[in-house]
């Protein structure tokens, strides 16, 4: 088996091949999620020093920042899958886009919720109409729109193409969220972590944040694969391989 040939990778675009592979990967990603979450939270809650201004309340950042990152990344990844699905008409890409949307919406909500909890002791208010908060809220609405449009159209192919177009229109919002703290000088502070400059925080805080975002990535893959497997079974329930897989399982010789 050659890992570097195109054919090796392309075979996973077939639902039939992908189904068992995803099934094997889900426990792996779930384990990674649990282990990394424990490490990340240990770093964040125990090893990281209290902030000299905010005391301990800043520690919600170890959930908030990775969740906000994920909400933006998942939208981009979802959009890429949607475009691949639209261009090459691969069913699996569309299923991935659909499977990522609820997780993305969950992370956008989590970012807003944890942000509100952090904002109360720090800014003195749960919510302000700040540029970044507003654009993150728009992102949540965009996820809802994407999910609702898919749910409203019965024909899977039409739903795939319509939602792909919508995802492409909405992806304009992602750079707006990311750069909002630079473009509008409103309440939300600028980024403390970036590729171009050294992070302006203690190393243990940075470690906690990074570990937590890897944990969230692993979680995203795990739940997205679960949804995709369900979707595959739903769409291919009449095909021979599904019948074969399940008759084997019942026979006990998986």
């Amino acid at each position: 088996m050659n890992f570097f040939t195109k054919a090796f990778w392309l075979q996973f675009s077939s639902p039939k091949t992908f189904y068992p592979v995803a099934g094997k990967l889900i426990p792996v990603f779930m384990t990674v999620t649990i282990v990394l979450t424990f490490i990340g939270l240990y770093y964040g809650f125990v090893l990281a020093p209290p902030d000299y201004q905010q005391g301990d309340s800043y520690r919600i950042m170890f959930i908030h920042v990775p969740a906000a990152w994920m909400s933006m990344w998942i939208y981009i990844v979802m959009c890429i899958f949607a475009i691949i699905g639209m261009v090459w008409r691969t069913r699996l890409s569309d299923m991935m886009a659909g499977a990522l949307a609820p997780t993305g919406a969950m992370f956008a909500f989590l970012a807003l919720w944890t942000g509100a909890l952090w904002g109360k002791p720090t800014w003195g208010t749960y919510w302000v109409w700040d540029a970044r908060l507003t654009s993150e809220l728009i992102l949540l609405f965009l996820y809802f729109g994407f999910i609702a449009l898919r749910a409203a159209i019965d024909d899977p192919q039409r739903a795939a193409r319509a939602s792909a177009l919508l995802a492409c229109v909405g992806v304009i919002n992602v750079p707006i969220i990311y750069f909002s703290v630079k473009w509008w000088n409103t309440l939300h502070q600028g980024a403390s972590v970036g590729l171009t400059q050294k992070a302006t925080m203690a190393d243990s805080m940075l470690t906690a944040m990074m570990v937590m975002s890897f944990a969230f990535w692993a979680y995203t893959f795990a739940v997205a694969f679960m949804r995709v497997r369900n979707e595959i079974l739903e769409r291919e329930k009449n095909s021979a391989w599904v019948a074969e897989t399940f008759s084997q399982k019942e026979g006990g010789s998986k």
Binding site: A148, L149, A152, R158, L165, L166, V169
Partner: protein, 222 residues
């Protein structure tokens, strides 16, 4: 190509003139929604002046969204849309013609009536001019973006509610900078930045939205 475009414009106009009530609905909606605010909030003119930009912009946004359902619906039902799609002319151009007429019939009246409503809410003359200008640049963007959503939700059950869910988030930037410009003008601050951004939205959506709406129609009528 130009002849077809001219024919489409003529057709849309004559259709609209035979259904005057529909054209007036959006305008009346705009007037009524704006008039509700003094009733709900109270007649203090200082408060009203303060909220006027936001109220007028939100009402304009809802009024223009209200009429979006009709943009393609009738042509979809009687089969005209299919003929437009299989015609040899670029679909984006035809869609652009439809959007243009939609704006002339629903967006432009809002712009023209906005000074009266602005005066009702106690705005001064300078802010009213700014308000009209922002609406003049902003409402075409609403029609353009809305057309993509109208195309996507064509023939989908519960299309009307779904349309607002898809479109309203995309309207928010226009709302922020449109109402923001008027607020800055009221506060005596510069409005160039707001106008630059609004014009950028208009330019961008003029180019991309007809293509997007054409793609959406092709998907819907596949």
């Amino acid at each position: 190509m130009i002849a077809v475009f001219r024919w489409l414009i003529w057709r849309e106009f004559s259709l609209a003139l035979r259904r005057k009530a529909e054209v007036l609905t959006a305008l009346l909606f705009f007037v009524i929604v704006v008039s509700l605010f003094p009733l709900g909030i109270g007649p203090e003119i200082d408060t009203l002046r303060e909220i006027a930009p936001g109220v007028l912009w939100v009402a304009a946004l809802l009024a223009s969204m209200l009429s979006l359902n009709r943009l393609f619906a009738d042509d979809y039902i009687d089969g005209t849309l299919e003929q437009l799609i299989i015609s040899s002319q670029p679909l984006a151009l035809l869609v652009f013609g439809k959007i243009l007429i939609h704006w002339v019939l629903t967006g432009l009246p809002l712009v023209l009536i906005s000074p009266i409503l602005g005066m009702q809410l106690g705005m001064d003359a300078d802010s009213i001019i700014i308000l009209m200008l922002t609406l003049l640049i902003g409402t075409p963007v609403l029609s353009l973006i809305g057309a993509v959503g109208a195309g996507l939700t064509l023939g989908v059950r519960g299309g009307g509610v779904l349309l607002s869910l898809l479109i309203l988030p995309l309207y928010i930037p226009v709302l922020i900078f449109g109402a923001g410009a008027v607020e800055s003008a009221q506060a005596g601050l510069g409005v160039e930045a707001h106008f630059s951004l609004l014009s950028a939205f208009l330019t961008g959506s003029l180019i991309l939205a007809p293509l997007g709406a054409a793609a959406a129609l092709r998907i819907s009528l596949d």
